[in-house]
Structures are given as C-alpha cells and as structure tokens.
C-alpha cells in the first residue's frame, strides 16, 4: 500500500516496521512529528522526556535490557545528548539503538546551522542520510539491524526538507522482534578507564568493519551517466543536483560515515571531473580531498543557508544570476511571526518593557518578545540559558540599580528541560535573581506537547504531574508567586517588589496557551470611537488584533480573545467589551 508521508512520519513508520519497542524525544522543530507519529502505534512505548540527554539515557537503558529503542531530536538537541552519545559509542548496543537528528539548514526554526554529520565522525558511529520519505522509512528500519549486527548506536540524519517534505512511500508490515534476555556485562557497560581502553580498541575495529559495509551498502550507489561530469551528493542535495544535472554520472551517498573511500575512488576513476553537492559544511568534500582527488564544492556552493535547485544551478554556472526572474516590486513589509492575540506572555513583556528591565531570555514562543513593539528581551542563547545568564550578569554589575534590573525569563517546558539546574546553581551560589517562569501549561512553539508540569504523557495518558511551586520551594527558594498574566497591575507590583529583594525569587505567570483554548467562545473588545484619541498606545501592546484604521484604533473581532490587555493600557478608557447580542 502507498501513502504520502513526511520524512518524519516515514521515520516513525520505519521504526515501527523494524520492531521498535521504545521511543523517546523532547520536542524540537523540525523533529517533533517523529515521536508524535510513533505515539500512534499501540505496540510502542513512547515518551516526551524532559530533555534530549534523558531521552537517550532512557533509550539506551532499554537497549541494555535487550529492546529496540529510538530517540529523535533537532540538531541542537544532540548537543544536550552528546555526553551519553560519546559513551554509548564505546558501550555499543544490545537491542538496536537509533538516534535520529534533524538538522536545519536555513535556520527556519533554530539558532544555528550546525552540521551533525560531524557528530558521527567524532563519536565514531555510523550515519545514514535519507533523501526522501521512502528512504527515511527504509533507513530507519535498517538502522536497527546495523546497530545490532555491529554493536553500535546508529545515527540517522534528516534535514528540514526531508523531515517536512512529503513523498510517496510503499508501506510494509511490522516485524516483531523479541526483547533479548538481559545479560550482565560490566566490561561492556561500565566504562571504567580499564574497560574503556578495551572498548576503544573495539570501536576502531568496528568502524573498519562498518567502512567495508558502507562500501557495499546498496544505497551508496553509482548511477552511470555522462563520464565528463561526476556528482557526489547526499540527503536532499542529491535531489537538487538530479534536477540540475539529469545527464551526469552520480555517486549517491546514503551512508556517509564511515566514509566509503574505495567506492569514491572507483567513481572518481570513471569520471573526468567531480563536483560535491552538499548542504552545510564540506563534510564529504574534505573526505574526497583526503583521497587526493580534486573536487569542486564549497568554493562554489555556499556554506550559509539552504540550497534549492535554482541555487545549485546558479552556483555551478548552469544558469546565470541575470537570467533569473527579477520582478519589479514595491517595498514589501516583512511578516515576522508574532505572539498570538490573547497570548498569556504578552502582558509580562509589556511590564518588562515598561519597567526597563534587562531580561535574559530563553527558547520558546516567548523569544518573540524580542521583536518590536515589545523589545523586551536582551539575550537568548540556548535551552535553559536564561537563569545562568542572569546570575552571571548580576555577579559583575557594580551598580546596584542596574543589577536589580536583571530578570530571567523562561518557559515552563524549557524550565523542566534545563532551567532547573541553573536555578539550583543560583540558589546555592547566593544569587538574588528574579526568575519569571512563563507557565502556559504546554510546549507551545513546537505544537503543544505535554511535559512534567501538565502530567499528561506522549500517549495522551495520565502520568504524574510535577508541582512547579513545590519543586522550587523544595530547592529552598522561599519567594515563589503564581500570578495572573492578564492582570497588568498585579504583574507590575509583584515584579517591582521581587527585583528589589536581596534573595532569589520566582514569579510564575500562569494561564494556558491561548491556542489550547480553541473552540472557546470569546467575547471580543471594541474601540469606542468617540473616546479614542488615536494616541497609538494600544499598538504598543503587541497584539496582532489591534491596528489603526485612519486615525482611530480598531480591534479585529475575529482575532480578539477579550484578554483586556489593551483596555488596561488605554489611557482614555476607550476600549470596552462588545455587548453580547
């Protein structure tokens, strides 16, 4: 049977067909739908783990105990899980262990364009790279077999265009694989230096055996064409190159690590000239160069940004830049993403801006608080950074007034992911930071996944709910306040009071993400035209439902949720609820 699946759905299907028992993930674009899709299969245990490191630890535990397990994460998630990854390379796998990483060339939803192929090389594990959904399914299924045959974790790398593109997939059935009996093996699984020295020797031998496997891997294939031009490409770049050079000879690489050097040599001997087409870093190109083979690659193809067929054609001189359409256009305003109308974060950022605070930020929808008109965030580094960043800034700020302007802003899911360690550090080392945990009861940005604070599991079942207030009080922090994020007066008072305190405190503005309230009937607000002076103060709230019509403000009744932030802001009392009919 055929189906149109995204790369992410196909990975989940491949894992299911391959008999996976356990799947763990922390949500992160573009990887999120893998675990969402896998959660639909009743045979598989799936979970939202608190972070990627824990994901990999749970999955490797399942592998120790003889089950097939998979983790999925976005590229930067693997930084969090890198510690177990490097150890697990030595330990190997008992039940098949597969690590799916979704890179984001073009940074559609990420802070960097890191190339996770480097992880396969430095951790010394094999890497498979599908170039469409059919391959995503096949390679994931195969990855479990390779993992068990070679006693190794296996990485599968997708990119945004593989994860979020849909193509036709031939579906297969599930092959049940029994969970192996647990056998204690400390020389393998306790990596004391004495054991690790042995295991490292094993790893190097394993990689040599895997290289031979890669040489024969049927998806690393030579497609004979015009001998004048040979193209080596992986992932979606292979597809772009096929569009641009339909006549050329191709070496399609699907298992790029360990690098199949004999296959590349054989290909090079058949063609006159070689071009490597790849996104991100010159990973394949450098390997080819190490063989003493001359290639064209990143001297023509950019390191920065995402490719597409036109870009490939222009870079490699098949098309001229001048030949591309250059429509005659007026100035086109940008359409940046924004906090939704009725978002519970908006009020907090209004107060932060008004009090002129220095806010260290974090990763989530609320990162949008950086943009105008809110302009209410000073830093954003990675998951959980806000608390450590705020503490560090305060450590060195001599001016007490300035020092007390620093607050950390973090979301509920991000706090559980890796904010809590920063908070413990801050408490222990005598910090005084005010931490604001924006608790919207979900992981919103990635499409509303549950987390420990919601107490619901990835399967939608009842788990155990972690009580945020008790947790924080348990650290020893005395000042913890849950506040209504739609009450600007209360928010202002509490924040003003807490930043003055010579002790750490945590403020939790708590209300569910407005997108979770779809289906609720909201009473919208309206502008009383006679009272509106056109002062534009309400526009600074940063609500997409408000705009100017002529010299009066107007509220879009279809977008407005009646949150009253604009009403509380209007100096002339010109905003009221629409009367119910």
């Amino acid at each position: 049977m055929k189906a149109l699946l995204s790369g992410n759905e196909a990975v989940a299907r491949g894992a299911w067909e391959g008999g996976v028992h356990v799947g763990c993930a922390y949500p992160g674009t573009p990887s999120t739908e893998i675990m969402e899709a896998l959660s639909q299969y009743p045979e598989v245990y799936t979970e939202w783990s608190v972070n990627e490191k824990v994901s990999l630890e749970v999955a490797s535990g399942a592998s120790f105990a003889g089950a097939r397990a998979m983790v999925a994460m976005k590229h930067v998630g693997l930084n969090v899980a890198a510690d177990p990854l490097f150890s697990l390379s030595y330990i190997g796998a008992t039940g098949g262990l597969v690590i799916v990483t979704c890179d984001d060339p073009g940074m559609h939803s990420s802070q960097n364009e890191q190339d996770n192929r480097h992880y396969a090389r430095s951790a010394k594990v094999p890497l498979l790279e599908p170039s469409d959904s059919q391959e995503a399914k096949e390679f994931t299924r195969l990855a479990f077999e390779i993992s068990e045959e070679f006693d190794t974790p296996v990485m599968v790398r997708l990119t945004t265009r593989i994860s979020h593109s849909k193509s036709i997939v031939e579906l297969g059935e599930r092959k049940e694989v029994p969970v192996k009996e647990y056998v204690k093996d400390v020389k393998k699984r306790v990596i004391l230096p004495a054991h690790a020295r042995e295991r490292h020797r094993f790893v190097e031998e394993r990689m040599e055996r895997l290289r031979k496997y890669a040489e024969e891997f049927p998806y690393n294939r030579i497609e004979e064409g015009d001998p004048e031009l040979g193209i080596i490409a992986d992932s979606v770049a292979y597809m772009y190159a096929k569009e641009v050079f339909p006549e050329a000879s191709f070496l399609k690489l699907s298992m790029v690590w360990p690098f199949p050097r004999e296959l590349v040599r054989r290909f090079a001997s058949k063609v006159k000239k070689i071009i490597v087409v790849e996104e991100n870093d010159p990973f394949i190109e450098e390997q080819v160069r190490l063989l003493g083979i001359e290639v064209t690659g990143k001297d023509k193809i950019p390191l920065v940004g995402e490719l597409n067929p036109t870009r490939v054609a222009v870079c490699l001189g098949v098309k001229k830049e001048e030949e591309l359409p250059k429509p005659e256009l007026p100035h086109i305003p940008k359409r940046p993403p924004a906090l939704c109308p009725g978002c519970p974060h908006t009020g907090v950022f209004n107060v932060i801006r008004k009090l002129k605070l220095i806010a260290t930020g974090d990763i989530g929808c609320y990162t949008l608080g950086t943009l105008p008109p809110l302009n209410a965030m000073d830093t954003c580094v990675e998951m959980g950074a806000s608390i450590g960043n705020a503490f560090g800034m305060q450590l060195v700020m001599k001016d007490d007034k300035l020092r007390k302007k620093v607050v950390a802003v973090i979301g509920d899911s991000t706090f559980f992911h890796s904010g809590i360690t920063g908070l413990i550090n801050l408490y222990y080392n005598r910090g005084i930071t005010t931490v604001i945990i924006l608790d919207n009861r979900t992981t919103a940005m990635t499409g509303h996944q549950d987390h420990p604070g919601t107490g619901k599991t990835a399967k939608g079942e009842k788990g155990r709910e972690v009580d945020l207030v008790k947790l924080i009080k348990g650290i020893g922090i005395e000042h913890v306040y849950v506040v209504n994020p739609y009450d600007l007066k209360e928010l202002t008072e509490v924040i003003k009071r807490e930043i003055e305190r010579e002790e750490p405190s945590v403020i939790i503005p708590r209300a569910p993400c407005v997108l979770l309230r779809r289906g609720e009937k909201f009473t919208p607000m309206r502008v009383i035209e006679d009272k509106c002076t056109g002062c534009r103060v309400c526009l600074k709230v940063g609500c997409p439902a408000i705009s100017m019509r002529g010299d009066k403000a107007r509220i879009d009744p279809f977008l407005c949720t009646g949150c009253t932030l604009c009403q509380q802001t209007c100096p002339f009392g010109a905003i009221e609820f629409v009367e119910e009919k």
């Binding site: 055929k2 149109l4 674009t29 573009p30 999120t32 739908e33 559609h108 939803s109 469409d132 945004t160 265009r161 979020h164 593109s165 849909k166 193509s167 036709i168 979606v236 597809m239 772009y240 096929k242 569009e243 597409n308 067929p309 036109t310 870009r311 054609a313 030949e323 591309l324 359409p325 250059k326 429509p327 005659e328 256009l329 007026p330 100035h331 086109i332 305003p333 940008k334 359409r335 940046p336 993403p337 924004a338 906090l339 939704c340 929808c365 949008l368 105008p372 008109p373 940005m445 990635t446 499409g447 534009r536 526009l539 600074k540 940063g542 997409p544 408000i546 705009s547 100017m548």
Partner: protein, 191 residues
C-alpha cells in the same frame, strides 16, 4: 514534465491542508508527487509557503526562483513576496485578501497600494477570485482554502475530479467533508 505549484499566505489560513489535498490528488491521479513546507516558528502569524510538485518522476520537493508554473495566493502581499519563484510564462491565482503584518498594524511599516496591480504589472496571466466571499456564503470562512483549490482545478485538468474528491475526503475531518466538497465545487465554478 514536472509541474510546480506554490501555495502561499499567512499562518492559520489552511495552506498546509490545501497543499496536502493537492499532493494527494496528484498521487491519486497516478503521478509521482512531492511537497515541501516548513513548520514551527513561522506559523505564529508569519508568512507560510508550501510547494507541490508532480509528474512522471519528481526529484526535488523544493523549488527556487523561476521554477513555479502557478502561484496560488491566499493573501495578495504574499504573492508579491514570492513572485520571483514564478516562471516567465507562469500563472497567478489570487484572492483579493489583505492581512496586515504586525509591523504594518503597529504603524512601523506600510502595506503597499494596489498590490493586484503590481502582480499584473509582472504577470500577464492573473486570475483574481473572491474565494473568501464564497466561503462566507457557505457559512465558514475556514473553507476558503478549499474554494481556492476548486479555482485552481480548472487550470490543472490532469488532476482528475475523483482524485480531488478522494483527497478531500481523506484529509479533512469527517464532519466537514460535505462542506468542503461543496466549497470545492463552488471554487470550480468561480474560475
């Protein structure tokens, strides 16, 4: 011959559902089909674009400048933003809808005048359809996306009627199937 269709607009307009239906319909018409889209941050009121490609054998799911046969625009400014993707002899089907980006709503930027005029200045084959009006008449503005697919269908007769119907049945929630089939029918008659 591979056909490339761009669907563009603003987060929340049902663009991803529309491109799903189109690619399923292409598959049910016997073509190889691929589509690309981006999730995540851009969906928070940002611009959204999805590309559908179908034909004998499709390699890339994504297109670059000068590769689109048709742009199906759910918001007119977004058509302008993506106009460089269109082939020189390409076609635009657009609904005359204006949605102000936040910087415009806040008074920090301006929405250009006569957007449809700008589109026509660059493209000779432009079809302006009032899909929103039809959707409102049907009592649910959210089916605008399927009305637009109806308007598109006349321009791509290689996608068969039964395939469209099968794709709509598969992709929209059970209780909205009839409404969407009517919306599609009305869209067919617009063009």
């Amino acid at each position: 011959m591979t056909k490339s269709i761009v669907i563009c607009g603003v987060g929340g307009q049902g663009i991803l559902v529309a491109s799903d239906i189109l690619s399923l319909a292409a598959m049910y018409s016997g073509f190889d089909a691929k589509k690309s889209e981006v999730h995540g941050m851009s969906q928070r009121g940002g611009d959204v674009i999805s590309t559908v490609r179908y034909g004998e054998k499709v390699y890339s799911p994504l297109i670059g400048e000068g590769m689109a046969d048709i742009i199906l625009g759910f918001e007119k400014l977004e058509v302008l933003r993506n106009l460089s993707l269109l082939k020189p002899d390409g076609k635009v089907i657009v609904t005359d809808t204006r949605l102000d980006p936040l910087p415009v709503a806040c008074g920090l930027d301006e929405y250009p005048d006569d957007v449809i005029g700008w589109i026509k200045k660059n493209v000779s084959d432009v079809h302006v359809v009032d899909a929103v009006k039809v959707a409102v008449e049907l009592g649910n503005i959210r089916v605008t996306n399927v009305v637009m697919l109806g308007a598109l269908s006349g321009h791509i007769p290689e996608i068969k009627k039964e395939a469209w119907e099968q794709a709509i049945r598969e992709r929209v929630p059970q209780k909205y199937v009839d409404l969407n089939l009517t919306a599609f029918e009305r869209g067919c008659n617009i063009s």
